[in-house]
Symmetry: C2
Subunit: 227 residues, 2 copies
Amino acid sequence: MSIRAVLFDVFGTLLDVHSVGARADQLFPGQGQRLTQLWRDKQIEYTRLRTMSSRYVPFTQVTEDALQFACEALKLPLDAAARGLLMHEYTQLAPYADAVPALQKLQQAGTTIGVLSNGDPGLIEDVLHGAQIAEYFDVLLSADQVHAYKTAPPVYELGPLTLKHPAHELLLVSSNCWDAIGAKWYGYVSFWVNRGGAPLDRLGVRPDGIGASLADAVDFLLQRRKH
Amino acid sequence: MSIRAVLFDVFGTLLDVHSVGARADQLFPGQGQRLTQLWRDKQIEYTRLRTMSSRYVPFTQVTEDALQFACEALKLPLDAAARGLLMHEYTQLAPYADAVPALQKLQQAGTTIGVLSNGDPGLIEDVLHGAQIAEYFDVLLSADQVHAYKTAPPVYELGPLTLKHPAHELLLVSSNCWDAIGAKWYGYVSFWVNRGGAPLDRLGVRPDGIGASLADAVDFLLQRRKH
């Protein structure tokens, strides 16, 4: 079965969030990594809790709530200036080094390319423009359109609805194993970019493809196209 | 409004899970705390991911999957014997010191008492008997009855459906802030037993009551009864 289009996750998949940790470490020396880890964990937790109970608020709000919690838990003083700097950093992310080559290769192959992100539409546009990769995308799909976050099925449903192809003809590429598995559960072909060599989540299924880079994801797609 | 019945969360609320950490530390010296923390985090994550995607498996399975992941992530060799010991430890938990006095006081006050747990029914019965507190409970409600985990509304719906009182006449007591908030979102009166002095989760609402012990939860309930 040929793959008709590819959808990328954004934060941590196309864009490198490590600069947020560097900024956090400037503000709170020695605490940057702990802060960004807890911030990220809480951010994801809050998206899931709000989704299960139908209490959606935009991703930017969830992100700020998680930052406030994380600073309180670590007893770090977060004034308005620090909060502003950290939230702003989130809109100024650099692409991973392998992102532009991968997108170019897909574009040259005539692939329809999009993103499917928890971020709200304004944030997605800002970060893709900021990273100078906006030109590669045919569609920008946001959880905000359905007021639910990954891995809720309505989020993944945006792909087939928008691209007019069934999920099993779409490839979802994510650096989050749970995102690749959620997409797989929904019916996508999915690829996990496992940059850090993490173990596979034990959820009863595995992504269709696993690799260490976006180049591996592109190879996986082009290989499947040949069949 | 009078409260007609109280439902307790089980693991970490009535029963102390620290013994699992002690056992883990015997098996993997110096790693017990890291292992049990990651195990617990993954266990909760997997309940939520499976719930969002309607991929329910029983809590015992989720717990074992999370244990396997955690050991793999920490590069700890988990053979069948170690897995058996750790899983067994989960069925042998001691009650917190304040549990029996709290349950006795509620029973003397004529309160209907139950549990509402992610655990499967067999596990709930085993642990309550093992802790010698089974006699206090009028109802045992399990996420397994609806094949979804907290904080999905169908889990909380078990309370009103079984007890024949609306949620706003039921008290949910949990040591997990997210559980108390999920119950509150559903419509319960909720109480967070914040044993560790954690910050309040930032989800737009707060539990109706917050205290440091089960005794505080009982005081909250009896106080509201007077009105």
